[in-house]
Symmetry: C2
Subunit: 374 residues, 2 copies
């Protein structure tokens, strides 16, 4: 039984599903929920829907003001009335991913089997498991075919997975700063972050919520590591250089001397307030496991017969998901015979460019979307 | 009073100095010791000495077998009879840096003021403080002028500092994978590592040795972070790719699945056995503080009148100390009128290339050294 309700604590909806979800691991989640938000209106023909897939630390509130953080949504520059993804034209849907911590079922929820918080007993999930949940939501909204699925970073992984798993349900797909599979270096960064969390004594073998504690230090350091990878050497140089933080001279100690230290510590600390450490483990693991190449090749016929159009974007200074990863996507899509547009957008702001005011990115996506009709 | 003694616990020497060392911070260290090793023989003319400066996690045993770890010295490929730095020709000196943990005075030593282990009461040091100590050693060995000072990474910082601070005492200087100053991104990586150590509850405000514990988890994660920066994306890809560790399928959990995870955890754990967490803090801080540009310009006259010859090397795939940093060194040395040779060596093995079997590096250094006479 499925049932859509208004969220209790903040705007948005929750799709309650009293059914079993079979995961790629073979394990089963009973009774799950999908927290989501929509912007704009579904037209009569039901052919103007765009699904937005969020990245590792995103949520279901890309546009307008985020009702929880009270800050602008993470893609508010991209989505809204008259913006690139124009909510006067398109019906925009975004859901918190499976394993997340902003309303969709994840490790910080109650396990119906024993009425305790899942913690590390939550089953390991994949990008495809996240997409399965999104498909249930799209079905429930009575949308047969999405005009587009769009996402950056871990969102781009979901985009490619949609095309591979549900090629009949997608008219176009936009992968931004993504990859066919997670690189060894990226697995390494993920593992350093996970070890930081799991070696924090407050992690308590993943059972911290039941024990009323939280591995805040570990999560904070994991965020600092990750945050460095989201910028570029040039961005660090321009933003901070070797500028000192509210002082004229070096302090000869381990307190904050440089602006970049202040920034990094702030990023770590503020993240702890809004994110669940176990969610961080599950999502990074899903990224590590991601390799969609074979599925795209196996489903070649359906992808081609559905004439799915792809747009693949990357950024010149992104070293976490560098252009060569996007080139591999383009190469594979060409080899299966799919129409694929691509561009390397000039930006010195690193991986985070997909979230920032990079006009070339907006222009390309706007033009691409205008050319798509169901 | 200075006094050279044989090391008690393993080969090598210790120069005991019962005197005051005034640091760049203005603080004073009383009664310090310098642990060092030598290879080859000082000739009668005392003009065949080469000082080797080690990197962050190096020690005074670059050549032969390391008497503590029983593994090959960290630059055994470079230094030895008939090798690039030929110990049949040159008298090679290497000392553990100030703040280190392999015999030279550092935060894990006894503070003579109160007979307790220094811990975080050890004064903050700079690269120049490290070099001051090396100069004391070189003086004590009655060497007026070093034929060359050579080092990679943090070692390259010491090399440039030697030329800036003691231009009368250096005939040539070889900076490998170095920089004039630490970049904002590198300060950020250092800070993430330090926070990992300092947020470990076993750090005990730096007093862990007196409290008979050790922030092993924090140091281990710091090492993992740093280790990723020593390789390159290509090196990770070639070495590990997405290969699984002794298993055929993903385990759907947080144990080791990928070879790269196994490698990284091993690097973290084995580092804990051989390194002191507070030393890690002090040395990374010294790197953050490093900016030798002004001193090189201020001492321009003496550098030029001493005709110091410079060699500046970098590696194509090094993203921690990329070639543009070496280009800045070359540019500044040219602007002060110093003879400077330089090369960008082709290697896909990242920052660690300076420690590895990269024949082009050996050839260039060998040729450069053969052209230097005092």
């Amino acid at each position: 039984m499925r049932n859509i309700v208004k969220n209790n604590d903040y705007p948005g909806y929750v799709l309650q599903c009293n059914e079993e979800l079979i995961l790629d691991s073979g394990k089963i989640i009973k009774d799950f929920k999908i927290a989501y938000q929509t912007y704009g209106s579904l037209n009569k023909e039901k052919n103007n829907s765009i699904l937005i897939c969020h990245a590792l630390t995103g949520d279901q509130f890309p546009a307008e003001k985020n009702p929880i953080t009270k800050k602008s949504g993470w893609w508010d520059l991209m989505i809204g009335p008259g913006k690139t993804i124009d909510t006067n034209k398109y019906f925009v849907i975004c859901s918190n991913v499976l394993g997340g911590c902003v309303g969709t079922t994840g490790p910080n929820d109650i396990n119906p089997e024993n009425n305790k918080i899942y913690g590390i007993d939550f089953p390991t999930i994949t990008i495809q498991d996240m997409v399965k949940l999104q498909k249930i939501l799209v079905d429930e909204l009575k949308i047969d075919k999405l005009l587009s699925v769009i996402g950056g970073s871990m969102g781009a992984m979901q985009v490619l997975q949609w095309a591979a798993t549900y090629p009949n349900s997608v008219r176009s797909a936009i992968s931004i700063a993504g990859a066919l599979k997670h690189s060894a270096q990226n697995i390494a960064f993920d593992e350093a972050g996970r070890q930081s969390i799991m070696l924090d004594p407050n992690w308590k073998n993943g059972n911290y919520l039941n024990e009323k504690t939280k591995p805040e230090n570990g999560l904070s350091v994991a965020r600092m590591i990750a945050h460095i990878t989201y910028l570029s050497d040039a961005a660090f140089q321009q933003k901070f250089g070797r500028n000192l933080q509210e002082k004229k001279d070096l302090s000869f100690g381990f307190d904050i001397d440089f602006q970049v230290e202040s920034y990094l510590r702030y990023q770590g600390k503020s993240f702890v307030d809004r994110f669940d450490p176990n969610s961080y483990l599950y999502m990074t693991r899903a990224m590590d496991y991601f390799d969609v190449s074979n599925q795209l090749i196996e489903n070649k016929k359906t992808i081609v017969s559905n004439k799915i159009r792809f747009l693949v974007l990357s950024f010149t200074s992104d070293w976490l998901f560098p252009t060569k990863e996007s080139r591999s996507i383009v190469s594979l899509l060409n080899s299966v015979g799919s129409p694929v547009s691509s561009a390397e957008v000039v930006s010195d702001r690193g991986h985070d460019s997909f979230l920032l005011d990079v006009p070339q990115q907006f222009k390309i996506i706007r033009g691409f979307l205008e050319g798509i009709k169901i």
